[in-house]
Amino acid sequence: MLDKDGIAKRIAQELQDGWYVNLGIGIPTLVANYIPKGISVEFQSENGLLGMGPFPTEEEVDADLINAGKQTVTTLPGASIFDSSTSFAMIRGQHVQLTVLGAMEVADDGDIANWKIPGKMVKGMGGAMDLVASAENIIVAMMHTNRAGKSKLLRECTLPITGIKCVKKVVTNLAVLDITPEGFRLVERAPSISVEDIKNATEGRLVVEGDIPEMKI
């Protein structure tokens, strides 16, 4: 089974040279720590920054330089800063090649729910609805089941959805799965996880064809 860093490491293998990438809050943020050697990617922060660098040192901290998670950050050489309408022009105009974000639920047709739990305080969707509606390539990073042990990979989302038929791939602590017209297609198993484990933890339609390799991370 993978931990959060393991999920991030596996997603990092999907990065391709020259890509602009938007990472959501939580596990997705960790992906930046595992960029494969030899490739260049740039991270977009939707509050208005391209070329986001690591957290600052104590001396570098600048209240005027934060990421979309409101964390203090730095810029790398070649960075650019722009306003929110331009930032979402990049996102909506599909100039960002990959979006990685967390989810509460993913349906086997690619629907995603990650912004609202009825009856609980609604914090708002932030940029998530623009991201999922626009991005051509969306990977969801999440645990396979919730704290109650219930599957988060469903036939249909039970929570209010953030976007429809948009997720392309899900990477969980148990598996890598592609969204296909037939449902979740199992691509890889996490170390020490069996196909049976994944079947048990997946409520949505699951396609298992041939031998399912174990992830290499």
Binding site: S45, E46, N47, G48, L49, P54, F55, P56, T57, E58, V61, D62, A63, D64, L65, I66, N67, A68, G69, K70, Q71, T72, V73, I81, F82, D83, S84, S85, S87, F88, A89, I91, R92, D111, M121, V122, K123, G124, M125, G126, G127, A128, M129, D130, A133, S134, P160, I161, T162, G163, I164, K165
Partner: protein, 231 residues
């Protein structure tokens, strides 16, 4: 050169009345018009509709207006990090209109740019799309979103000149430029107020035509929400 300078935040907010609609720049606590917010608290103007990406925290930013129940309605994309907000919303004292962040930014720009409505894919198929026109372009469904404007837009910039030209620093830019365009009257508070000619005309973020009043803010606390450090 058209001189836009006013003395201070108190003078800048003259004309803002109960029940008006305001836009306020900033993302989280970054790039918010701290001085005008304080002046609004002091002036005790109430019934406000505030268009702002976030709603501050309990004791800073728009949280200060919330605490005094000066806000009737928030139009935002993300309003977490604020217990007072939650309390007022759940008790029904505060109306909340949540808008996808990119649609919020674009609706402000549209309001300033004389574009009354535009199509966007954001929110299609979700509750955000309820009651909105849907149209398919290039095989992809989009919803029609309308422009936002405000009686007053209040923005915070790094430097500005007496003609109202503004430049921002870092990601404190965020919603300030599109909102500066969309105010019937736009107020800018700046850290440094300079003479016309001091800013390079090639690198103005908000041209002075969008700004009606400008002043140097007295205090910029610039509180940080998530101080993340590399050791």
């Amino acid at each position: 050169m058209i001189n836009k300078v006013v003395a201070n935040a108190q003078e800048a907010i003259q004309g803002i009345e109960d029940n008006m609609t305001l836009m306020l720049g900033g993302f989280g606590l970054c790039g918010i018009p701290e001085n005008c917010i304080s002046a609004l608290v002091e002036a005790n103007i109430t019934g406000l509709t505030c268009i702002s990406n976030n709603a501050g925290v309990d004791d800073f930013g728009l949280g200060l207006l919330l605490r005094k129940k000066q806000i009737k309605k928030m139009i935002s994309s993300y309003v977490g990090e604020n217990a007072e907000f939650e309390h007022q919303m759940l008790s029904g004292d505060l109306e909340v209109d949540l808008i996808p962040q990119g649609s919020l930014a674009e609706r402000c720009r549209a309001g300033g740019a004389g574009i009354p409505a535009f199509f966007t894919p954001a929110g299609y198929g979700t509750e955000i799309a309820e009651g909105k026109e849907v149209r398919v372009f290039n095989g992809k469904p989009h919803i029609l979103e309308s422009a936002l404007t405000a009686n007053y837009a209040i923005v915070k910039a790094w430097k500005g000149d007496r003609a109202g030209n503004l430049i921002y620093k870092g990601t404190a830019m965020n919603f300030n430029p599109p909102m500066a365009m969309a105010g019937k009257i736009t107020i800018a508070e700046v850290e440094e107020l300079v003479e016309p000619g001091a800013l390079d005309p090639n690198f103005i973020h908000t041209p002075g035509i969008f700004v009606q009043r400008i002043f140097r803010g007295e205090i910029f606390e610039k509180r940080i929400e998530q101080r993340t450090i590399t050791k």
